[in-house]
Symmetry: C2
Subunit: 308 residues, 2 copies
Amino acid sequence: MTKTLVFGHQNPDTDTIASAVSAAYFLNKAYQVDTEAAALGTPNAETEYALNYFKLEAPRVIEQADTEEVVLVDHNEASQSVANLADVTVAGVYDHHKINFTSAAPLWFINKPLGSVATLLYYEYKDAGIEIPAKIAGLMLSAIISDTLLLKSPTTTSADKPALEGLAKIAGLDDYEAYGLEMLKAGTDLSTKSAKDLIDGDAKSFELAGQTVRIGQVNTVDVNDVFARRDEIAAAIETELAEDGYSTFVFVVTNILDSDSDILVLGENQDKVAAAFGVTLTDGRASLPGVVSRKKQVVPPLTTAFEG
Amino acid sequence: MTKTLVFGHQNPDTDTIASAVSAAYFLNKAYQVDTEAAALGTPNAETEYALNYFKLEAPRVIEQADTEEVVLVDHNEASQSVANLADVTVAGVYDHHKINFTSAAPLWFINKPLGSVATLLYYEYKDAGIEIPAKIAGLMLSAIISDTLLLKSPTTTSADKPALEGLAKIAGLDDYEAYGLEMLKAGTDLSTKSAKDLIDGDAKSFELAGQTVRIGQVNTVDVNDVFARRDEIAAAIETELAEDGYSTFVFVVTNILDSDSDILVLGENQDKVAAAFGVTLTDGRASLPGVVSRKKQVVPPLTTAFEG
């Protein structure tokens, strides 16, 4: 078993799948590491659209790491990774999140606050002089579009647009805006999803002041479509709170056309969440104008409110 | 106060001073950040030699960070940094150690297991197309020589020699081996140092399984010169154990010519330290043939023995 598994976070999104595929190829070409891209779940509808468009297979789904060495992409916190992370050696990390990580030995840990990990990897390829295959470039540009909502999210940095344009050229994609809108829309068909799928789809756990706060997010073109199913969604969240030991669930419903979100907060600490955003919760719900980024606009104020 | 302080670890060595100077210059040129290099102590004799040789001033000594943002070099653990680290924002990290770090927001965190942080920074300059001033190149090559013991330590990687050679060219240094030997020797004159200076000079604290283990290291050309002062050194260590709450003190005496070390272990957990290295301690002392690197050959086995 000398293979190195490369994988992203639980509830994989497009950036996590694209970065696993991209980093696995990069590490093989740059350092001759025997890598395999993997995923901690099946692709969501948006990622599925991108994989089909660029004719790529989804990475193998794993529940545990079955190699001695692993490389993490798009996450660095154990709570978002494989269950047996403590039993394997993390040889590298490519990420763009806040950091909560310890290691017993030095390792490659490249974390940059760019719009997507795919952006970071684009520059790693460039610096190393390694060519990106057209299909992988297509998946990487899909990841940039997904994480930055077509360069409109406040997480977008000056490095993302040149990377997106460079990748579109390699992938032979003439109109990345038209492609991107179709891809984003493919991810917003929520009508066929159960309430449990909605709240779980993109959810991540965060350890804040010793409590586990669960934050889910869905993209839509009309938040009222989602809140029409409030009772059903609230019941699913209550079940999860009771069964999984989360203290608080923050469900973020984001309108990708208007770049606004509504949140639904259940469980404990409603006062802290309200204070974090300076809003009043009505039946657990509040509007957060201009908020689209969990990483940049949801987690940091929550961290301050819980730990401050 | 929009200045960003750039500094390395407590008890600064040559790599920590060089990396602070080098990263401060790099961040200013690459991102127009208003930076100032600083240090958590005065240069040791080896660093002093390098600064004098290349006609550079030592960075300002600070005890606390007095800016809102800081960049850490050559360390990432709070226990090795300024006392008020929790009160400021870490905007970036350039390091080559194990990781024990948390942040509230994404940041630039570049950690690579290379021989020195100066090596890592050499490639950052190269990738960004920024010229390194000759004096700073001189200090950076001194850091590579110091951390890799002239490319002989097992921490040396394939990236270090090309960096050292590239920097020697920029610095206009024809014979870096001759320079390096003189610089290393300048750091081994221990006769004028008090026992307290010897044990404190390069010491770092490590949190292992909830206990604070202090590991000091001195370089010499004859370990018996140091152990001739065993009683005096042991008394200084006992005083520090009692006053500073360390559970264990591991004092590593390294012969830089033979690439071997002897350790002196005082305090609790002597059994764990002995087990970590598979040796028997006699009066707290044991020989560790081939061991020269605290980071690669001392801390990892201790971590395993304490936490395993």
